[in-house]
Symmetry: C2
DNA sequence: CCTTTGATGAGAACGATTATCATTTGCAAG
DNA sequence: CTTGCAAATGATAATCGTTCTCATCAAAGG
């Protein structure tokens, strides 16, 4: 069912539903939500909130950090830009931080979220 | 009206509404939302999403980065822990990254969001 | 006083997500 | 090939946070 993964990124549940219906005409929206919930729980899919009231989903095709990226979110037009330019240093720092935090707060860290907000080239 | 700020952190609009009614018995929920929207737009208040379906608000009492912190979010019980232990290095790196990203994508960055997800001491 | 303008509260409307429930499907035992 | 049962599915209702609408109210100024 990971066929939903072939699609591009930042899709909402409804987007995915529409795309899926081309291949599986009778599929219901509830099933899409149920499947996404499973995939998220199994760490196969990320669920993001970009502030526009609906969740966005993105596959984790994460072989050795490949494809790992963070987001730039435009506060005005809600456009989302993926970047992975500075990821290495970020991830390096994050791992140190994770270690420190894990110890201090006795917290098992499994994930992180980094997003930058601002105005994209078209909006500023 | 920043009296809402006296309260603790991570309050939802509804939490704030309830607290406010003790001092302003007739205040409506719509007004709370309207005011919060303004405060967020003017960068006096942060709006967070911790994944439980409602937005949380937090004052920015940010004199020279004081009180600035990031969050640990428990995936199981949704508890949120503030930390500012490793903030300095994080912020330092973020500023470099912001500069690089701003240039490459011609994006004016105004804010960032960092959150770690995992299991808190009680849940793991 | 009277008018205007903006803020307010009550409640309706909205939209994303979740729950419900009857139906269908898959599959294994008989 | 049936039968029976459990899990999955789709349609739709329900939920709930947030936003919209609109009548009312308050303050300001003529």
């Amino acid at each position: 069912m990971s066929i939903l993964s072939v699609a591009k990124e930042h899709l909402s549940a409804d987007d995915i539903h529409i795309k899926l219906r081309k291949d599986y005409p009778g599929i219901g929206l509830a099933t899409v939500y149920r499947t996404l919930e499973l995939l998220v729980k199994r760490n196969l899919v990320y669920k993001f909130d970009f502030g526009d009231g609906r969740a966005r989903y993105e596959i984790i095709s994460d072989e050795k950090g490949k494809n790992h990226h963070h987001h730039l979110v435009c506060k005005k037009c809600s456009r989302v830009i993926d970047y992975n330019d500075f990821i290495d240093k970020e991830v390096e720092l994050l791992q140190k931080t994770e270690k420190g935090l894990s110890q201090k707060y006795n917290f098992k860290i499994t994930d992180h979220l980094i997003q930058f907000y601002g105005l994209c080239d078209k909006c500023k």
